[in-house]
């Protein structure tokens, strides 16, 4: 007991000396010769470590005939390599090729729609299941997961967005080398086995997240209507017909094109020795050919020249979304929008909460967010839940008057100071968990171009003035630039 207490005291002393320094002194940056970027932070609070890999590849980087492939590939990269996840790759491989030929023949036949040969489709389906069953004898299911789990790894997962794809794991600190061994193998030798059964899983994921959830369905329709040409309008998971036409060949091409060290940003945060960790990562990843990063999206969304209204009729009570086009991260006005977001939508002192929820009681909640990505020009959004008997129209009017107020009355100094105080608190807390810090480091490095975005953030926001807010409100919160989305209850009295 006493010994442990002493240990705690010693730990405190050591971290007090660190405390004077900010994030910039704690992050060690190392770029490997093949382009892979490492961001490391030593934190000795617990004997654990978080390892995140962020690829600079997201659904915006897909071509029109492969939409949904980035997310599908995220699933497929859990399936193993030439040595993991298989008992005998040499024997498995010819079967995987036959599966692919059969699946492609089936997709081609189905693409003929009414003219397709139904008997042939049925025969191909039968063949495909037989081949999959035959191939499965060689498969060791989810061996990556099994290896991480038996070593105490938690939170092994991945996610795909418009802007990028991330794989993460937390491990006991002594087992970080397992991560390097598995992830370097995955980067070079991934085998996309079990593709077509996983595609069925992704279709269930789509039904679960979108089709059966009215608010998410409204969101998907809203975003698609917000972008006529920019790929931000396309749902990351893909539309149902996109998913039905994905193939292993398309996924492999996408993988080999973009998922090398050049597009990888790695954050390792926790109980590590920085120098030894860099050496270890170099040993595993150093020889991998660099690969390439997708070229920037060239599509430019034309200026919206009139309000767009999107209605979803659903078995659900009304919901409301109001959106405006705005510039990407790092644009000077993006910081102005961050301040506007906090003043309108952050907490119980926010204007929308005070006006809509407490004073007028039109809504049970109201929030502000920016989406669907941040690398490219995106949307500023307000959502609210109308409270009966008030309608979505009542709530829309109240939101628009709050936006008008930003144009006519300068924001008070105390409101700006509250925003800065909140950011100060968030800065203090961002070192609080290994995973949270790893997430922020990789995300900002990817979308803002540098993790130092976090270190400079408060200064940038402090420069935003009441006049900037008024000017931006007048410029962006216009009828022409506005989108309104709402749910109308099926069989209800209507809006």
């Amino acid at each position: 007991m006493k010994r442990i207490w002493l240990l705690v005291v010693a730990l405190c002393l050591c971290s007090t000396s660190l405390r004077a320094s900010g994030l910039e002194d704690k992050v060690v940056e190392h770029t490997m010769r093949n382009g892979m970027k490492l961001l490391l932070v030593e934190r000795h609070t617990s004997p654990t470590v978080a390892a995140w890999i962020r690829f600079r590849v997201g659904s915006v980087d897909e071509r029109s005939d492969e939409q949904g492939i980035a997310h599908m590939l995220e699933h497929m990269l859990f399936k193993g390599t030439t040595t993991l996840g298989t008992k005998n790759y040499a024997a498995e491989r010819p079967l995987l090729d036959k599966i692919e030929q059969t699946a492609q023949a089936m997709i081609a036949e189905k693409a003929k729609r009414g003219h397709g040969d139904k008997a042939r489709i049925a025969e191909l389906e039968k063949q495909l299941s037989a081949l999959e069953a035959e191939a499965s004898q060689y498969v060791i299911k989810d061996e990556f997961f099994e290896l991480y789990a038996k070593n105490g790894g938690v939170g092994y997962n991945a996610f795909t967005s418009r802007d990028g794809t991330t794989y993460m794991i937390n491990l006991p600190a002594n087992k970080l080398e397992l991560w390097a061994a598995i992830e370097s193998d995955r980067m070079q030798n991934a085998v996309l086995r079990e593709f077509y059964s996983e595609r069925a899983v992704v279709m269930e994921e789509r039904r679960r997240s979108t089709d059966a959830d009215p608010e998410n369905k409204l969101w998907e329709t809203f975003v698609a209507s917000g972008f006529l040409t920019h790929p931000y309008g396309h749902p990351t998971i893909g539309w149902q017909s996109d998913i039905e036409n994905l193939t292993r060949t398309k996924a492999e091409q996408f993988f080999h094109a973009y998922y090398g060290p050049q597009s990888a940003i790695v954050a390792i945060v926790g109980d590590i020795d920085t120098k030894a960790t860099i050496a270890m990562v170099e040993r595993y990843f150093g020889a991998i050919p660099s690969g390439k990063v997708p070229a920037p999206v060239t599509a430019e969304e034309p200026k919206q020249e009139g309000e767009r209204r999107i209605e979803l009729v659903a078995e659900a009570e009304p919901a409301l979304l109001v959106g405006f086009h705005k510039p990407a991260i790092n644009a000077p006005d993006d910081f102005v929008f961050d301040v506007i977001s906090m003043i309108l939508g952050n907490g119980r002192t926010s204007r929308l909460y005070k006006k809509l929820v407490i004073e007028k009681q039109l809504a049970t909640d109201a929030g502000v967010f920016e989406a669907p990505g941040s690398r490219y020009p995106n949307l500023f959004l307000v959502n609210a839940t109308p409270r009966a008997p008030h309608t979505a129209t009542d709530v829309e009017e109240a939101i628009l008057s709050e936006l008008e107020l930003l144009k006519t009355e300068p924001v008070a100094e105390r409101d700006l100071q509250r925003v800065l105080n909140k950011i100060e608190y968030e800065e203090a807390g961002q070192m609080g968990t290994n995973g949270g810090l790893a997430r922020n480091l990789t995300e900002y490095e990817a979308v803002a171009g540098t993790w130092r975005y976090m270190a400079e953030y408060r200064r940038k926001v402090a420069a935003v003035t009441a006049a900037d807010i008024q000017r931006a409100a007048r410029q962006y919160f216009t009828r022409e630039n506005r989108m309104v989305g709402f749910i109308t209850k099926k069989g209800g009295e209507g809006k």
Partner: protein, 475 residues
């Protein structure tokens, strides 16, 4: 140079050979690691003058302090005709002002400091929490104590909270997953306070005075435990807490009414809710165990093998092999005070509803027929034991964990012996626990979706009771 580093690494490993391929890279299947012995970090337990236990863990990595108060209360103590009273009381404690500080002023003060004070009441615990930068701690602590002990329950905020509850009820059938979860717990806890849900009538019956009384009855210094972590000054903190909570109460000690355990009645039922969706929500299960059951360790292992991991039997078959679902899992929620539950869940396209239900029931029943394999048992133990340290990654999680164990009356040494108790479980223990606690023939099966598109009539699984999802008008 590379060689040298490797040989040093080799020396400090636990002894088994490291399988090194060319270039100094280990094989993930066979690699071994330097030893890491994890000791559970200690928290100090002190007792205030009033008798209240306080767990303390000072850590100055961040200039932030966290406090949580755990309070012996809960929705199980609310009258059925006022279902929702506990949750509303927890809501308005924070939102309705305290000690003369108006709701607006409190919000303004807290948010200007970027501090947070929140309150809530669940089924068998109330919590009030504080988060603050060190420099704003004294003022935030005052507000925290006032919310905890002297909430004002502003009439306007009481009305708003009730109206929000009513709006929530109006919307409670919008999301098929929400319907299925609610109806499952209503069915297994039927007749017990844990199975009660708010209604328009109960929400309208709750008065401000009910909330004042509910708070007064339960939020007393002799019914709380505090957990404090972060960058605090120990002496000043204890002095302040003693000043706030004072001397031992002269009133009679807090006595909670005795709530009986739910009736164990294993009767199957098929419950159907109609929604026009292309994916069906499926929930199945029954009552489970309390923490006093000696099978808790065997069931923790059973959970991992059956439905608690990415390589569990349910995920492997329903998702990975058959592509029937994105999400499928199962778990025993061990009851800390009242009998807990076993639930298995998935969502699948309407056309495979019957197939998925049969498959899940069969996989679950399989646990009661044959012992699990050596490999499954080993994998489950390795995961649970090796990942144990992740329960203790922040000072706040360490003190909160300790406070919760005392709050629920876990035996001394529960955490310290946890890994050994897991390690001791045998295949036979898992089988015996499965036979004692899993009864697929007595599942409450809740299905929400569009039965006209199902592959099998739901009646295949037993007589169907259809839910009325039409909402009765407010008032």
């Amino acid at each position: 140079m590379k060689r040298l580093v490797l040989s040093i690494l080799f020396l400090v490993t636990t002894g088994t050979a490291v399988a090194l391929a060319a270039g100094g890279k280990a094989d993930p299947r066979t690699m071994s690691f330097p030893e890491l012995r994890f000791e559970i970090p200690a928290a100090e337990r002190v007792v205030l003058e009033c008798g209240m236990p306080v767990y303390l863990l000072r850590d100055t990595e961040l200039p932030i302090i966290n406090i949580t108060a755990l309070v012996r209360t809960g929705s199980v103590y609310e009258p059925a005709a006022k279902a929702g009273l506990a949750s509303l009381t927890g809501n308005v404690m924070r939102n309705g002002g305290a000690s003369g500080l108006s709701p607006e002023k409190m919000d303004d003060e807290l948010e200007f400091m970027a501090s947070a004070v929140e309150s809530g009441i669940g089924s068998d615990m109330g919590t009030v929490s504080l988060t603050s930068l060190t420099k704003n701690f004294n003022r935030t602590l005052r507000i925290f104590c006032d919310v905890l002990l002297h909430p004002d329950f502003s009439p306007q905020r009481v009305d708003i909270a009730r109206r929000h509850l009513i709006e929530g009820l109006r919307r409670q059938n919008d999301d098929p997953k929400g319907i299925a979860g609610r109806e499952f717990y209503r069915a297994i806890y039927a007749g017990h306070p844990l199975g009660a849900v708010p209604t328009f009538a109960s929400a309208n019956a709750i008065t401000r005075q009910d909330m004042v009384d509910f708070h007064h009855r339960f939020f007393r210094p002799d019914a709380m435990i505090l957990a404090v972590s972060g960058d605090f000054d120990r002496t000043a903190l204890l002095k302040e807490l003693n000043a706030v909570f004072g001397k031992p109460a002269t009133t009679s000690p807090s006595a909670l009414p005795d709530i009986p355990q739910p009736t164990v009645d294993f009767r199957p039922e098929v419950i159907y809710g109609k929604k026009e969706v292309n994916q069906t929500v499926i929930r199945m299960g029954h009552l489970g165990i309390t923490k006093a059951d000696p099978d808790i360790y065997a069931l923790r292992i059973l959970d991992y093998i059956l439905g608690g991991s990415f390589t569990s039997r349910l995920t492997m078959e329903v998702r990975t092999n058959q592509g029937l679902a994105y999400n499928v899992d199962s778990r025993f929620d061990v009851g800390r005070r009242f009998t807990g539950s076993f639930i298995a869940e998935t969502e699948t396209k309407a056309e495979s509803t019957g197939k998925a239900i049969s498959l899940m029931e069969e996989i679950i029943a399989g646990m009661t027929r044959e012992p699990v394999s050596d490999q499954e048992l080993r994998a489950a133990k390795e995961y649970i034991i090796n990942s144990f340290m992740f329960g203790f990654t922040s000072p706040a999680s360490i003190v909160n964990q300790r406070a919760r164990l005392e709050f629920y009356g876990y035996p001394p040494g529960y955490l310290e012996n946890y890994r050994d108790n897991i390690a001791r479980v045998t295949k036979e223990d898992v089988l015996a626990a499965a036979r004692r606690h899993l009864k697929p023939e007595a599942f409450k099966l809740v299905v929400v979706g569009d039965a006209s598109k199902f592959d099998k009539p739901l009646a295949t699984f037993g007589p169907v009771r259809e839910l009325d999802l039409g909402q009765q008008p407010e008032k």
